[in-house]
């Protein structure tokens, strides 16, 4: 056909190894954003609606009851102030997990759009990083909406709430990346139900979201310590309550743990995606 050299001249040739160029990632983001336009309104509504519901029911309702007999472990905070950062991290965890499960399986198995992308110059790692970047954008939007609601409820005590947004996104990605790696090994969504029931929901309940982990029976406390969500909850809480200066080392540990899980998840996903796309 006519403009062959033209097309050739403009094609990108990504380098070898793990290096992935921003332009290929940007194309995947552009694709996902185009898909997202159709569900934007519904998604925006739930981004604001869910924190309003939870903070009203648990923060004001349950909180009003708890605050009648304040527990010393709350250290003078209202229950709403204690709950809000934990709920932010937990909400982003759930969104990040969901986004890594069904939409990713869709691209690999249902409409197989990732296979179509794999027939272009882009590589499996580009597909992983592009989707991860898109999910990070979505989680940022969710975190911003959540933070606006928290401020509106008067539950924020520090301008560091702005830094709690990337902290919450990092918490979410620490779930997104490894779950994406798992999703690429699945052909049906059958195991997702078990993952949410026996993985995500217990973490939601036992990671210090709703009460300090010190309230748990002693033998259960180590469970919270190994929970990635606990690291996210505690980090967001330190930032949103402005108490990070009391234990900055712990905050750094949280960031390192969440970052390490994310990186390990990306490396695993690069392998499982490659294997899946090659197999067809």
């Amino acid at each position: 056909m006519a403009a062959l050299t033209d097309a050739r001249g403009r094609t990108t040739a990504p380098g070898p190894g793990l290096a992935s160029s921003w332009t290929t990632i940007a194309r995947v983001i552009e694709h996902r954003a185009l898909q997202y336009r159709r569900t934007f309104r519904a998604s925006l509504f739930s981004s604001f609606g869910i924190p309003v519901l939870f903070l009203t029911a648990m923060g004001l309702g349950l909180g009003g009851y708890v605050d009648q007999n304040p527990d010393p472990s709350l250290a003078g905070l209202t229950y709403l102030q204690f709950l809000a950062p934990g709920l932010l991290a937990a909400t982003v965890m759930q969104s990040g997990s969901f986004e890594a499960a069904f939409p990713i399986l869709g691209g690999l198995q249902w409409n197989k759009i990732f296979h179509a992308m794999f027939a272009t110059p882009i590589r499996a790692l580009d597909i992983v990083l592009g989707n991860l970047a898109w999910i990070a954008i979505r989680l940022t939007m969710i975190s911003i909406a959540f933070s606006i609601v928290v401020v509106a409820f008067g539950a924020s005590r520090s301008p560091l709430i702005v830094v709690a947004i990337p902290a919450a996104v990092l918490t979410g990605l620490a779930f997104t990346a490894p779950i994406m790696a798992f999703t690429a090994t699945q052909r049906t969504p059958d195991r997702f139900a078990a993952m949410f029931r026996f993985g995500i929901t217990p973490l939601f309940l036992f990671s210090g979201t709703f009460y300090p982990i010190e309230s748990l029976p002693g033998f259960l406390q180590p469970v919270a310590w190994i929970s990635p969500l606990w690291h996210g909850v505690d980090l967001c809480r330190q930032l949103m309550l402005g108490t990070v200066d009391r234990d900055p080392v712990l905050a750094i540990v949280h960031v390192v743990v969440l970052g390490a899980i994310t990186v390990a998840g990306v490396l695993a996903a690069a392998r499982t995606f490659e294997a899946r796309l090659v197999r067809g």
């Binding site: 097309a7 050739r8 094609t11 694709h31 759009i113």
Partner: protein, 313 residues
């Protein structure tokens, strides 16, 4: 690209092999595809056609042998090769969350085209596959034939040197198939190199300048449709169908009637250069088939001769 690229084969395979654990899907096949050619892999399901296509498409690594595409090595130059291929997979991989036109726009972006260029090409391609009036519709309600045409349009967005079509009309009704064939024929006229797999002998005869017959992971014959028919079959075939139970009682009555006799479960095929002569001779011998059909030999007969089996079971 060197100047002698025009004379060298676009695709060059020697002893090309694909293994999955203990199973050999493609067993040391040799073939070359020249620029501008329409080249086919004809064979039944499971013959190794799709595995071969996926190796050419640089989405599945080769297990052995040699493969060069556009003078590049798929082991190192996968992205560079894929940039110049147009792939129509066996099952549609369209984005159901996007419109018809958006499917083309976003796909062009993966080839590094600007948005303006994508838009221009998308409009031309929608015109070409006769979907211009469906551009704003979502993909889901389209018919199977329309989805296939959209997939073909999508594969052309990067103006590829080679189109890889894996069973382009499987599952389509006859009218939709003819529409797809017509578009592929036009592309061939424009000089686009077509590589396709099919288990339909009529598709192979209509579209392919040259083809290889594949069976059980190996290439069993190679040539143009006409050459293959001349080499492996006779000019005509007389097909005899008998009332149920009769065929089994016949033994030796076909001896000497034709150059070659194939007994299928439901009919007997008699190969000769003049089918009518065979029919008359059979009547003289007192054979009374329920129906008689005299037709020209096809690639189906070639396949039967080479493998002892039909293409579509």
């Amino acid at each position: 690209m060197s100047l002698d690229g025009a004379t060298r084969p676009l695709i060059h395979a020697r002893a090309l092999t694909k293994r999955f654990a203990a199973f050999t899907a493609v067993d040391a096949v040799d073939f070359d595809v020249a620029r501008g050619e329409a080249f086919g892999f004809l064979g039944p399901n499971g013959a190794g056609k799709t595995s071969t296509m996926r190796m050419i498409g640089c989405t599945s690594p080769i297990s052995g042998g040699e493969l060069r595409i556009l003078d590049m090595d798929p082991r190192h130059d996968g992205p560079q090769i894929r940039a110049r291929l147009g792939v129509v997979p066996q099952h549609d991989t369209l984005d159901n969350e996007l419109t018809v036109r958006e499917n083309l726009l976003i796909y062009g972006r993966y080839f590094g085209l600007t948005r303006e260029e994508c838009a221009r090409r998308a409009d031309d391609l929608l015109e070409f596959v006769q979907l211009a009036d469906r551009g704003k519709d979502l993909v889901e309600p389209l018919s199977g034939g329309m989805k296939r045409r959209l997939t073909i349009a999508r594969s052309l967005i990067n103006e590829p040197d080679v189109m890889l079509l894996d069973e382009p009309t499987t599952g389509l009704d006859p009218q939709a198939r003819h529409l797809v064939w017509d578009r592929l024929y036009r592309l061939k006229q424009r000089g686009v190199t077509l590589v396709l797999t099919t288990h339909y002998m009529d598709e192979a005869e209509q579209l392919c300048d040259r083809l290889v017959v594949m069976d059980k992971a190996k290439i069993v014959a190679e040539g143009s449709p006409q050459e293959l028919i001349q080499r492996y079959s006779t000019k005509e075939v007389a097909e005899f169908r008998f009332a149920p139970g009769i065929q089994e009682t016949l033994d030796g009555q076909f001896e000497g009637l034709a150059e070659r006799v194939e007994r299928l479960p439901d009919r007997v095929l008699l190969y000769a250069d003049d089918g009518e002569d065979v029919v008359l001779a059979a009547r003289d011998r007192g054979l009374h088939p329920e129906t008689v059909l005299v037709r020209r030999s096809t690639l189906e007969d070639v396949f039967l001769r080479l493998t002892g089996r039909s293409l579509v079971e």
